[in-house]
């Protein structure tokens, strides 16, 4: 469970209207403007190039650092390799002391924040002035946390900034943005012209030439590196690239992904010391480059997390993150935000510091879609979670639920059956599922939960398994827990539709939970156990295909099982053989109907009007399985269905399995937005391909008293006539 202080931070952020308003507005417009600025460009190819350059560099930091050092030294600059934050701080302080520096101008640098340089210098009587406008504002507000990596003061309304400036100047300042920018120019210009040292970061460092590349819009990095006689650049190892040409793709992506600009106003490339005004006359500037390790080489040596070093700090992953949008960087803390931030924090700070931030990821995978460095952020977060659990163990609630129940399918199924008998009649808003692996508690704000089915699917299948003469295909149905115990009618629909297509469906009784709840909780041990049990059960079915109607289960079977069993060759092979057979239900229908559907046969049979159906893209269905268009095609071909698109159809519904229990306060507003989009679409039915989404959406619409029905695609295909009747409560 998240720490108390952390929970409080979440609470504060969620209740900060100007923060949520500003981040929300930005995120909405960002999505559109990012599309525009990449229009006509091959983003996929671009990110491949960047990933290749950066990942290759991460394999050769020592060599690159050597080349970089030689190149800078050949020009007369100095390079200091700092193993950790303390070494970097001390070196910079010594340089300042040597030159009798009292005032320092700084342009934005994550690395300097990472090493807590400002506090260190201040304690030693040296004044560092941040010159990036937002950073300066925050510096004038002790205790205020940055809310975003690229726009750290995005949460502050202009009135607040005016108050800060008034306090600083000792005179009233109107909340007029243009005028406040003028004030910043005037005040900071004084600092530029008098400071004894400039400190910058770097966006890229080129080993071949010893060049550091800085991108800014304000022009503060130019002044920082031009006016004062001494320049110190703090450069993380991960900024290194081999040659000057490597900067081109990074410069193409960074401003576009960062702020949806084709290029920043200024791109400055500094190679060795350059002329500067030094007291009496023109001389040569002193240049010090601090190459900062602080966990980076350890990360580069880690086969899993090395990937995170590809990051170019554009923050687009946070811009599209539904969780970040609600809570902001103020909640993540530790300089680097979002999913990627939690991974970086684990190495640059400590694993302990990453425990809470990593838990915020709901796993929707939107970030992975936009990352220009092609980092699989959500998978890295899961790996990090696994390490947290390995080190700290599961929290007691999870341990009982996962080890004690989920890992023992027989017991779990018995408990579920018992629970279905014990529960009272279905009532709105009454938490009824308590023992599904997804539910470890009974918090249900903003959402009703379904009852546990009186008769789970596994007990109904005998009646469903009709013998067809000569089946076209033999399929084993892997239902997953939600369909089995909460929505067996979805399973029945699967049987019906596939039966119609001449498929013989069986239900291997030995199947158990797919283990996703364990994987998402970082509990590898339970996940491995379940993988083996399922492989055995599904092999016994001897089917041509293994069908599932749950994308999370599909991902577990296709991707997680082989990964989990990678250390055990015999098992791994079996896992891979199984993975090849796994097919999503809707995908299979699409293949079987050859994209024709039953339109011809059934069209206009009843002459009734078409039902408006809108489609919700389940995160794993779209971003893992890539079936979003397939599902739409299948639905469009269904007679009597009129497909209408909702806004933001691929935004997460806020379910995320146990996430909605762990962070109901975050899950609820994400759901709220989804419901708004659904309602505004004018549809009578929402279709989705994930039973988890169905559960979340039904619960939400039910609480609202909405008449819109939520159906799994299988249900839409199985019985159109039912679309117009029946409620959500089942």
């Amino acid at each position: 469970m998240a720490g108390k202080e952390f929970k409080q931070r979440i609470h504060r952020a969620l209740n900060n209207d100007s923060l949520r308003g500003a981040l929300g507005r930005f995120a909405d417009s960002y999505i559109v403007s990012r599309e525009q600025v990449y229009a006509g460009r091959d983003f996929a190819a671009l990110r491949e190039r960047i990933a290749a350059i950066k990942s290759d560099a991460a394999g050769h930091y020592e060599e690159l650092a050597d080349r970089f050092t030689r190149a800078v030294e050949a020009r007369g600059g100095k390079v200091f390799r700092a193993g950790d934050a303390a070494a970097a701080r001390e070196y910079i302080y010594q340089v300042a002391k040597e030159h009798g520096v009292t005032d320092i101008v700084k342009s934005k640098s994550f690395a300097s924040e990472e090493i807590h340089l400002n506090e260190f210098l201040q304690e030693r009587g040296i004044n560092p002035y941040e010159t990036d406008l937002a950073e300066w504002i925050l510096q004038l507000m002790p205790g205020e946390r940055p809310s975003h990596m690229v726009m750290p003061a995005i949460h502050l309304p202009k009135e607040e900034v005016a108050r800060v400036f008034s306090r600083y100047l000792g005179e009233p300042v109107e909340p007029d943005i243009k005028n406040m920018v003028r004030i910043a120019r005037r005040e900071l210009r004084k600092k530029f012209l008098t400071a004894g040292m400039g400190i910058s970061g770097a966006n890229i460092a080129v080993a071949e030439t010893g060049t550091i590349v800085l991108c800014t819009n304000e022009g503060n990095a130019r002044l920082t590196t031009t006016v004062p006689p001494v320049h110190v650049a703090i450069v993380g190892y991960e900024k290194l690239v081999p040659s000057i040409k490597d900067i081109v793709p990074i410069l193409e992506a960074l401003p576009r992904s960062g702020t949806a600009q084709p290029i920043t106003s200024y791109v400055t490339m500094i190679t060795g010391p350059v002329p500067a005004w030094r007291g009496e006359g023109e001389g040569i500037k002193e240049l010090h480059v601090v190459l900062l390790d602080n966990g980076r080489t350890r990360m580069a040596a880690d086969p899993v997390f090395k990937e995170a070093l590809q990051c170019i700090r554009c923050a687009s992953c946070t811009n599209v993150c539904p969780v970040f949008q609600l809570v902001s960087g103020q909640v993540y803390g530790y300089i680097y935000n979002g999913g990627i931030g939690s991974v970086l924090t684990a190495f640059f700070n400590s694993l302990e510091d990453a425990v809470d931030p990593q838990s915020l990821c709901i796993g929707c995978r939107r970030c992975a879609e936009v990352c220009p460095a092609k980092i699989n952020i959500p998978d890295l977060v899961l790996k990090l979670r696994e390490r947290v659990v390995t080190k700290q163990g599961l929290s007691s609630g999870y341990r009982i639920a996962l080890h004690g129940i989920v890992a023992k399918p027989k017991l779990m199924h018995t408990l579920l059956r018992a629970a279905s008998r014990l529960q009272g009649p279905v009532t709105h808003g009454q938490p009824l599922i308590r023992h599904l692996p997804l539910f470890f508690s009974n918090l249900t704000s903003g959402r009703s939960l379904p009852a546990i089915a009186k008769e789970p699917l596994r007990d109904r299948v005998k009646r469903l398994e009709a013998r067809t003469g000569r089946p076209r295909l033999k399929a084993a149905f892997y239902s997953g827990c939600v369909i089995d115990f909460a929505y067996p009618e979805i399973g029945e629909a699967v049987y019906k539709v596939l039966g119609r297509e001449g498929v013989q469906v069986t239900f291997p009784q030995g199947q158990a939970c797919c283990g996703a709840p364990a994987v998402y909780a970082g509990d590898r041990e339970t996940a491995v156990k379940l993988a083996k049990q399922n492989i055995t059960a599904l092999e016994e079915a001897r089917a041509d295909v293994v069908v599932t109607a749950c994308p999370t289960c599909a991902v577990a079977l296709k991707k997680d099982f082989p990964e989990l069993l990678a250390g055990e060759p015999a098992w791994e092979e079996r896992a891979r053989a199984l993975a090849k057979k796994v097919k999503d239900f809707t995908e299979l229908v699409h293949e079987l109907t050859g994209g024709q559907g039953k339109k011809v046969k059934q069209a206009k049979k009843s002459g009734s009007r078409a039902v408006k159906v809108t489609y919700h893209d389940s995160c794993h269905f779209k971003r893992h399985l890539g079936l979003d268009q397939v599902a739409r095609q299948v639905l469009k071909e269904q007679p009597g269905v009129e497909l209408v698109e909702m806004q933001e159809s691929d935004r997460c519904c806020g379910f995320g399995g146990s996430y909605s229990i762990k962070y109901p306060e975050i899950s609820a507003p994400i759901l709220e937005r989804k419901l708004k989009n659904i309602t505004e679409s004018g549809a009578e039915v929402v279709a989705a391909d994930c039973p988890g989404c169905v559960l979340q959406l039904r619960g939400g619409l039910d609480q609202k008293g909405s008449s819109i029905k939520v159906k799994h695609t299988a249900e839409v295909l199985a019985a159109l006539e039912n679309l117009q009747g029946g409620g959500n409560s089942k």
Partner: protein, 187 residues
């Protein structure tokens, strides 16, 4: 890309990014154009010499029109209203100016004043950054201080409201010099 396409793209991109592109058919036109646009913007000019500045007689034109032209000294560009600098390349794709700004005065004149005038020979416009990088690599060692400038200095740090002229110039004029220099409307 054909020359005219490069010029058209450069001009429209630069203007989209907030610069103003002023075509000058011949070097001789630079002086009068400068006098015209700079008149309302203050009389103190920081001028960096270059072959083009010399042939065009920029200094004489400005001094003759009553401007106070500064070319050197410890206070160079610090109090100037306008800095005038010749850039070496233009990049059509993004409307960007490029130069080796290792020379200190070049940097100060382009950074400190509220108005920056960039002189650029039209035949120096290249299609993209890669071509410009290639041009510098051919010339010899990589420059000490290489700079790319696109539009005026800007910030969106307060309420994401785009505001120009933070630490750098709030106006960027690009005088595009050459027979075929013209703006996006073909003027």
């Amino acid at each position: 890309m054909k020359f005219q396409e490069l010029i058209t793209s450069f001009t429209s991109q630069a203007e989209a990014m907030g610069a103003r592109v002023i075509p000058a058919a011949r070097p001789g036109e630079i002086g009068p154009k400068l006098v015209e646009v700079l008149r309302p913007l203050g009389s103190k000019i920081a001028l960096v010499d270059s072959p083009l500045v010399k042939t065009a007689g920029v200094e004489a034109a400005l001094a003759g029109a009553g401007f106070n032209v500064d070319k050197d000294g410890p206070e160079f560009a610090r109090q100037a209203d306008t800095g005038i600098v010749e850039f070496e390349y233009g990049i059509a794709e993004t409307g960007t100016l490029a130069m080796d700004a290792t020379d200190l005065k070049t940097r100060l004149a382009a950074m400190l004043p509220l108005t920056c005038v960039a002189l650029l020979p039209a035949e120096r416009v290249r299609a993209n950054l890669t071509e410009v990088i290639d041009a510098y690599l051919e010339r010899g060692p990589w420059p000490g201080y290489f700079t790319l400038v696109t539009g005026p200095s800007r910030t969106a740090d307060i309420e994401r409201s785009l505001t120009i002229g933070v630490h750098g110039p709030e106006r960027l004029f690009i005088i595009l010099v050459g027979e075929n220099g013209g703006d996006s409307r073909g003027r």
